[in-house]
Symmetry: C2
Subunit: 423 residues, 2 copies
């Protein structure tokens, strides 16, 4: 099956901007830029093609908690609103909530997402159903209770097995221990070993709040990243550290040494009052940075374009600034590298995860210089400007989502059945 | 001519959220909520109605400079990119660039905007052409050169006369001296007198940067707001102070006393590295705050929904927080009050400036509680979710903009003719 994207006004690879080219795709891969015929042809005149966006840190099923309560402090919010509801979770709530979140993601141009939550096999099923590329890992934590450690590892392994059974090249496993303040050293060590052995990414929250860092200092005599490196957590592993707001100079040296990728989630970090990660500094020191939305309850969208704009805006407050193009890279190729994924680039022999953004709208006009394409993608574009979302050579969304009302009514039905009470 | 908005799922007034109501409109006014027939009927099932958004500070014609250069420092950006181009401005560039910016504004649910730029009579004409409500004021500055003062006042008065001649109740005049660092005391005083005499708003930049405050201290021995109050600038005037990031405790007391409204422009303030206005504190002290996008060259959109989200997010970093509903008020009724405009509220006998936001999209789902409507409007909605924009009882935009390519090609043509050189 071949697909041709014809006459794209611009292509952002994202290393450079190319004008008036076509993209020929076969068997899920970008083949070349010359062919002018194919089974399916998209006329992309007035559009810009860029690599599908990679959401490097999210909890996608949390759509069922979106907007529930906004005007409470973090602790009150978690204790009164989020945790009591999460305790009543079941597979079905996760499945239908994931459908909603993945539908939004694809609509908004996110072709890949890296997820950590409960019942992750259901997230995987929802991703498969809608044709998204996903990295799923059961979020595990033993709260330092020895009798729970093994059980948590089993929970993670169950998802690994389920994912393997799916035999879907778009669905990839990760190991996702929650954080140093919720997981014992034993649990973290086993996770690190499994990841190493299987060659899969390790996904963990690191230094999201000042409190987390303070607590680690008291408990372990070390800040979180130092602590993790003290028992070789990073060794020969591909680690995605979500947030990474409060890293010390010494930790930055280690982050670089161990090739850690920070999943920068600026909107969630603002919304939860956690702070602003100094990613200009990180990038300058050679530390890898990708972008994530975090869960929809702390954002509250899954729109990577918004995330790009806020990331670009916040760095203007700091001394170390980076160019707009760097933001596009964070949302695409840097995320791909973190995952060991060949995508995130529009080039021959790369997976055909591509989105087309419609420039024929007043908020993109006028475009005269090539630089404006990149600048306007970062500062003016939103998820809703995405006209086509292509994953692995398949068109999975054409600018609108079908069966939405059915999905929403299923979410509501299951949420009520589970006793996750609403008015 | 009567218009009926039928079956709106929710109405945000914005003082409360009402469910399943209709809105009956006649002769540009909201009449009542019972009538079920009219000349034109909109079925608003699955939509939420809220007052048209009021952009309290912008330079709308700057669309022609959108995205021109993003990775330069402020000074370099102004000196090398913006000012040399602005010098070559003419009426036609302003007119067509305004059409573009106003088209975007209406598309994104902004029904009123408060503008300050050059050739403002052309902004007024563009607003009239597209059916927007506007407050226009020629941006004036004499740079402390005595021989220029009179000329600048004439420039402002010419626009006042032109607006009066239009006899369009939607187009309103303001007096817009640029700032204390670009206008002499004499110029500021005359502006203040004209505004008082004519009963029109005074629109000025106040304390946007630390440098501005420092300079005022050196030059006048006083910070900007104190300086203005020293010659009765605020006396019996309706003043909109754009930005107001760096106000002292003493200035806050005066701001409240003089009923100053701060036009908060959080995105521009981040993008230009100016800082974050502590509006939580302002609101708590009884100071009025509205919302603005600033010009499209420092944003780069004219999307008040984005502005609401960023305003809500940034305050989470501070100690004084405010509820989500307050953000909706800043974008509607607080802006209206600042202008002495009866709109900004969905109520009987108010001007019918109303927008309908389509909730039938995955990023709004699920909605169960009424609070979620407000929370999701602030944290999830974008301009592109606006399905209908109604100004003064007329549908001026139905979710897409016509004749766009014509407008863009005119902008490009005029920009080239004027010698505002592009590649």
């Amino acid at each position: 099956m071949s697909l041709l994207i014809k006459n794209a006004s611009f292509i952002v690879t994202p290393f450079k901007v190319v004008k008036d080219k076509s993209i020929y795709i076969e068997n899920g891969e970008i083949v070349e830029f010359e062919t002018q015929e194919a089974d399916i042809v998209i006329d992309a005149r007035g559009m810009v093609a860029l690599p599908g966006l990679i959401n490097l840190h999210t909890h996608i099923p949390m759509t069922f908690l979106r907007g529930i309560a906004e005007d409470k402090g973090l602790e009150e919010w978690l204790n009164e609103e989020i945790w009591p509801r999460e305790k009543k979770l079941n597979e079905k709530v996760v499945y239908y909530s994931s459908l909603l979140g993945i539908a939004e993601s694809l609509r908004f141009g996110t072709t890949s997402f890296v997820d950590m939550y409960f019942f992750e096999e259901k997230v995987a099923e929802a991703a498969e159903k809608l044709g998204a590329r996903a990295w799923v890992g059961e979020g595990i934590f033993d709260f330092f209770e020895k009798e729970k450690t093994e059980e948590e590892i089993k929970r993670a392994e169950r998802v690994l097995k389920r994912v393997k059974k799916m035999k879907n090249e778009l669905i990839n496993p990760t190991i996702a221990p929650h954080s140093v303040y919720t997981c014992s050293k034993e649990l973290l060590q086993v996770c690190s070993e499994i990841a190493r052995e299987k060659g899969i990414p390790l996904h963990i929250h690191i230094s999201e709040t000042k409190e987390e860092v303070e607590e680690a200092r008291k408990k372990f005599g070390m800040t979180p990243l130092l602590y993790l490196s003290s028992f070789k957590f990073f060794e020969r592993n591909r680690v995605i550290g979500a947030h990474g707001i409060w890293l010390s100079a010494r930790e930055l040296v280690l982050a670089r040494k161990f090739n850690l990728t920070i999943a920068h989630c600026p909107i969630s970090n603002l919304k939860l009052g956690s702070g602003i990660a100094p990613i200009g500094k990180y990038l300058k020191r050679g530390i890898k940075v990708g972008l994530g939305t975090d869960g929809p309850a702390s954002n509250n969208s899954l729109d990577m374009f918004e995330e790009m704009k806020v990331a670009a805006l916040l760095q203007k407050l700091s001394d170390v600034r980076f160019p707009t193009l760097e933001v596009i890279k964070m949302a695409t190729v840097y995320g791909a590298r973190a995952l060991g994924f060949k995508g995130g680039v529009i080039e021959e022999n790369r997976p055909a995860d591509i989105i087309l953004v419609d420039l024929k709208k007043p908020h993109f006009m006028p475009i005269i210089k090539k630089e404006q394409v990149v600048n306007n993608l970062v500062y003016c574009a939103k998820g809703e400007d995405v006209a086509y979302t292509i994953v692995n050579g398949e068109i999975v969304c054409r600018g609108s989502v079908e069966n939405l009302e059915k999905i929403e009514s299923k979410v509501l039905e299951e949420v009520k059945k589970a006793g996750i009470v609403y008015e």
